[in-house]
Symmetry: D2
Amino acid sequence: MNFTYSEKVEAWREKLIQFMEEVVYPNEKVFKEQLDAQPDRFADIPPIMEEMKEKAKKAGLWNLFLPDSEYGSGLTNLEYAPLCEIMGRSPIAPEVFNCAAPDTGNMEVLVRYGTKEQQDKWLKPLLEGKIRSTFCMTEPQVASSDATNIEADIKKDGDQYVINGRKWWSSGAGDPRCEILIFMGKTDVNAQRHRQQSMILVPLNTPGVQVERMLPVFGYDEAPHGHAEITFDNVRVPAKNILVGEGEGFAIAQGRLGPGRIHHCMRIIGAAERALEVLCKRVEERKTFGKQLSEQGVIREWIANSRIEIEQARLLVLKAADMMDKVGNKEARKEIAMIKVVAPNMALKVIDRAIQSLGAAGVSEDFPVANQYAGIRTLRLADGPDEVHRQAVAKLELGEQASLRENNCLYN
Amino acid sequence: MNFTYSEKVEAWREKLIQFMEEVVYPNEKVFKEQLDAQPDRFADIPPIMEEMKEKAKKAGLWNLFLPDSEYGSGLTNLEYAPLCEIMGRSPIAPEVFNCAAPDTGNMEVLVRYGTKEQQDKWLKPLLEGKIRSTFCMTEPQVASSDATNIEADIKKDGDQYVINGRKWWSSGAGDPRCEILIFMGKTDVNAQRHRQQSMILVPLNTPGVQVERMLPVFGYDEAPHGHAEITFDNVRVPAKNILVGEGEGFAIAQGRLGPGRIHHCMRIIGAAERALEVLCKRVEERKTFGKQLSEQGVIREWIANSRIEIEQARLLVLKAADMMDKVGNKEARKEIAMIKVVAPNMALKVIDRAIQSLGAAGVSEDFPVANQYAGIRTLRLADGPDEVHRQAVAKLELGEQASLRENNCLYN
Amino acid sequence: MNFTYSEKVEAWREKLIQFMEEVVYPNEKVFKEQLDAQPDRFADIPPIMEEMKEKAKKAGLWNLFLPDSEYGSGLTNLEYAPLCEIMGRSPIAPEVFNCAAPDTGNMEVLVRYGTKEQQDKWLKPLLEGKIRSTFCMTEPQVASSDATNIEADIKKDGDQYVINGRKWWSSGAGDPRCEILIFMGKTDVNAQRHRQQSMILVPLNTPGVQVERMLPVFGYDEAPHGHAEITFDNVRVPAKNILVGEGEGFAIAQGRLGPGRIHHCMRIIGAAERALEVLCKRVEERKTFGKQLSEQGVIREWIANSRIEIEQARLLVLKAADMMDKVGNKEARKEIAMIKVVAPNMALKVIDRAIQSLGAAGVSEDFPVANQYAGIRTLRLADGPDEVHRQAVAKLELGEQASLRENNCLYN
Amino acid sequence: MNFTYSEKVEAWREKLIQFMEEVVYPNEKVFKEQLDAQPDRFADIPPIMEEMKEKAKKAGLWNLFLPDSEYGSGLTNLEYAPLCEIMGRSPIAPEVFNCAAPDTGNMEVLVRYGTKEQQDKWLKPLLEGKIRSTFCMTEPQVASSDATNIEADIKKDGDQYVINGRKWWSSGAGDPRCEILIFMGKTDVNAQRHRQQSMILVPLNTPGVQVERMLPVFGYDEAPHGHAEITFDNVRVPAKNILVGEGEGFAIAQGRLGPGRIHHCMRIIGAAERALEVLCKRVEERKTFGKQLSEQGVIREWIANSRIEIEQARLLVLKAADMMDKVGNKEARKEIAMIKVVAPNMALKVIDRAIQSLGAAGVSEDFPVANQYAGIRTLRLADGPDEVHRQAVAKLELGEQASLRENNCLYN
């Protein structure tokens, strides 16, 4: 639990901050303008994005998320955390550095579980930022917070698998560069609960794959990536597209979700920091009833509470990251569950205060906060709702306390 | 404080509920589809709206909001409250019954403060639902929660007034039927604080009036009404367009805001009720970990707390309405301030729980709740942010307690 | 739901307020001093109490709680509510007016379910304030929030019942005037869940009844009444002491708890009002950093929120009272459950703010607030913890919504 | 920020935990029984205390709080934090290890600011646990959260100082072993705001020092230490008793409060951990409505939230401790202010849940939680109320953000 940034990390941070200030922040508006100017917001990628990506790649600020040192930066979770936080400050930043969800999770899956052939075909272009990907797990008809509820079907038929089902909230599927998806479905409903599921690679252009609609998030289309509802109607892919093997889907999902969750949390910290900056700046600029807003006691309480909540959330994220590095994702699952609850709820509070401090401007497009709010609100649901994570924390806590009591380590 | 619905009110309620179920609810989807099908979402009104309005007018469910019995229904605030609540259940309902903001407030201003000529020209078509209107008070450059901050300028020039300024959050200005606006600006910056402001009627098509952009609320455009940013560049209107006279703007605003605020609160109760219904229905339909969601203790707490919060908010709204009827808006200002804080905050909590119970569907367009959330979030800012109302309540409370202490009515 | 005080109620209120100001408040300190001067705080009643009771009886301010008009005032719950609230302002007031728990509940039980003989022997002296009583239901060994958990035993033996068990939180048992208790136990563990329990009258001086200790509430002994832990060791009472008959205990408990709960809630409103007064007075008297505390925005938020929360809680209590009067305690059980959650939680928030505004004085004996806090904290547990009431509200709500959906009355 | 316990710290922890389990916990009850058996709860110290102290001294578990290595353990704040947390688990533990407030703060003052003579006379016996001490700063007549409000008077008169004033919440003054107090008063009301105050050493038995009463905390007398109200009536002490010199009082107070505050926070973490253990154990033991309490979703949320809040608070305390070690108390003042708000509020939430899980037992003496609640509630007031600390955090935050903006380090 040494949270002091190492020299190595400090060097990355400096480089990254400078890049953000020189390249990313000034182009947020450009990105938005280019996007708004498109007749179809999902048809093209604002050109500024590829320009920024080229610069980032040249600067070596590329694939920092990937712990594996052959393909990625080889940073530990603890090292990556402060960098990911900085990227989280801008909604367009993660992609600039090829560190955007769901590609990061999909790349990790391919690094860990992909065959050489799968890696050559899909991992490489993803690592190069040439293509994008999506992940098809959640289904509209069932409560997906319980992964065993999944109804989608994957059937072996000779040397092919035939896929049927309806998925939604497949993020990034609206992106014209999205070429590959990882599909989770059941290969054997009679296997034991956590061996029924499998994951398989499906190119987006396979016949039978139909993007039915793009789903809005509080009115935002999140173009050009977006969140899709996709139907799979007798979609056929080669049997070799399966990941690891039949029945491995649940295990892969578990492995994928740990890092995915913590990356979200790291980015959320950055978003909250930015919202607090927006708040602090604004309240210095406005007056009501003869007083600077920044002199109002109530607003000062917002600022203090925001700072307090951000600091605590960051420390817990760092602790979880450190545990993932040292004892592994499974042993760190309690900490991961905790930050999955803490980070979005913290940020929503901070952002809501920022909105309130901005007045009506806060709910508009003139400041990043309303969009942040909507995006982070979904993270109280995505990858498991708060409630499921809290129950998980409690179950682990009760277990630990019971075994401590057996060992007489507690006195009450 | 007799909150039992009178027979008269019960009759109106029955009629209204039936109309909602037969005409309004089934057409929510139709309205959305017609709107989405338009090439420009602000160019036309989905035809279903005028059809529904015709039906409502025929059914006598028209202008119920207006206490004045010559023009309106003659209902008291207390009588209107349960009816307005029902309308608040559907985002398209208030307009169907010609009870939508900001027209209602503007009509009240014209009834109370308009000259015969002003009434003939603008009030009548508004009462008939032929035209719509907007209200231009908030400005982007200053904190408008303090009305004395207003910078817009209204200058007498012969028998005309010349108007300059920039306004925003002029709701309904996107509507193609919007023909008239009420503008608030300063006629005399040297007068005393609350006598500097005046209100004046400005036809939307007056040269110099320029809708600069429509403002999104979170990601919603709120078409076809929308919220506009409007510039006024040497806009000239006849001097007789002034309301009451120079220096009366602040007083008119105060008179306008009381009923406006309580109408919002009444509608919010209805929106919260509907969100709770959505929640209750959903949790009966979904299962996780082998249990109906409706059997989960945590979700039952949400339901109980929602019911508790809604009931309390409704009772306070009814109390405020009753006081407005009996002692007038000014004497009821503490109660109005209280409900202005209570209602939106209550509803946001209820709606947020509904979102959470729905999973990712909750933030999408498939349920009304995300849109409700965004809309009601703005009501923690519109007509004064929570903080200003709380300070007002506290000031009044401190004053009341001080005078009670002087009269030895308290013992501590 | 007519919450306007009738002339009759206004007359009672005036009389009661005057009595409080003339007799009760000035003697709070006297009561405390007399109590503190006693060598054994449970041995005697401070003489001022009986003096005040005499005055109240003479003034006709006596047994106002009792709806039954033969014995009591004949006030409805709605009429009694504002009077009970006033009594709740002072911890010593309820007894002064013979309206203190648990006597009130016990008297109601005797009025409703007692035989003539039982009434003559126990109800009369209780109504006259000659003796006091206690109620023995909660047990230390089981979670009493589920009444079916009760383990105490009542066995018929000839024309006697033999009673065994351990009870605690028998309030008022420390009072030297306490002569009778109502005991709840099981007469038949094989009967159906809600027919196993019976209630029986037990004189405190029956052999085998042993007050083991007085239980502190936080650090308060609550003398001279107090809360006792009592053991019953082969206690024998005449069979005619049973209330109604064997198996009626659960039903009687339900009947007893409704009014008991609402009385608590009414008193809590009064306590919260007083705490808010303490707060408002104090913040006008103290300065920090060159400013009156009452000018601090944060403190004004406390005041506003307190007023808002008190108003809402009071209205809900009045609604529940009105429903109890009109549709009966059973039909009003949802409302009773709601206020049982709302009132103490509201008051604890208000009182906590008062404590905070007082600085260290707030936790001491110099102000009533710390003692109020402790007392009202117990009411989140007594008569069922919050959680049980919330689950009850949710269950009723889910049922109502389901039947509305069946009748097509909801649209979602 | 390396929060991993070093080997040295782990060794201390092991030793301390073992001592707690073998000596402290089993004697909590003994201490209480001996205390309750005394005719005057402030007249004597339960003998078990001195026995435990002897054992702790022998075990080398003594004065661990003192960073100075000549007199104390030489532990850094970061090293002491986990040890202090363990002591915080039992209300009687800190004294056992000679690490109890206010002695610790007073000893630190004497180490840092005392003359050799003052140290020989007072510091030595304090370090040996032979005598105890108190601290007289807070006054009943003014809001002491603003230290400049202090009214007590210290006047030079020849080679003596004459002291007049009324102080309260002088903790530990009830202890029969309390021999020395540090008094804060004004030596020069005309000096600049923070140079008016001085601190001076006053033996408790000096004529004119009168303990007026012991103040209860939520009904608890906190015997045998207690909190005293003390009057000083022309109390004369030698001039050499002054600490450092006239006008140094404010500076000494600032130096004293930093460590004092963090020690409180460390102990609070331990108290919260213990409350959570109590909760977890209890809910495994009780059943309602056919289910273990530990299986109830609502209770699991309490457990999860408690764990989450404790973890975050602990990490922030460790960060503050680390900063105090590395950049000094002044530079760490924002972090100290943050934990002073976070720790007690966190613990009160955790403890309140524990109370609720225990039912009525929770407010009694049968579990440590009600007493913990009362004690920790005072820590939202002592050493500055939450509100003052939040304003301090906000002021620092606004300043930091302003200077970052000037340096273009933020982008918004």
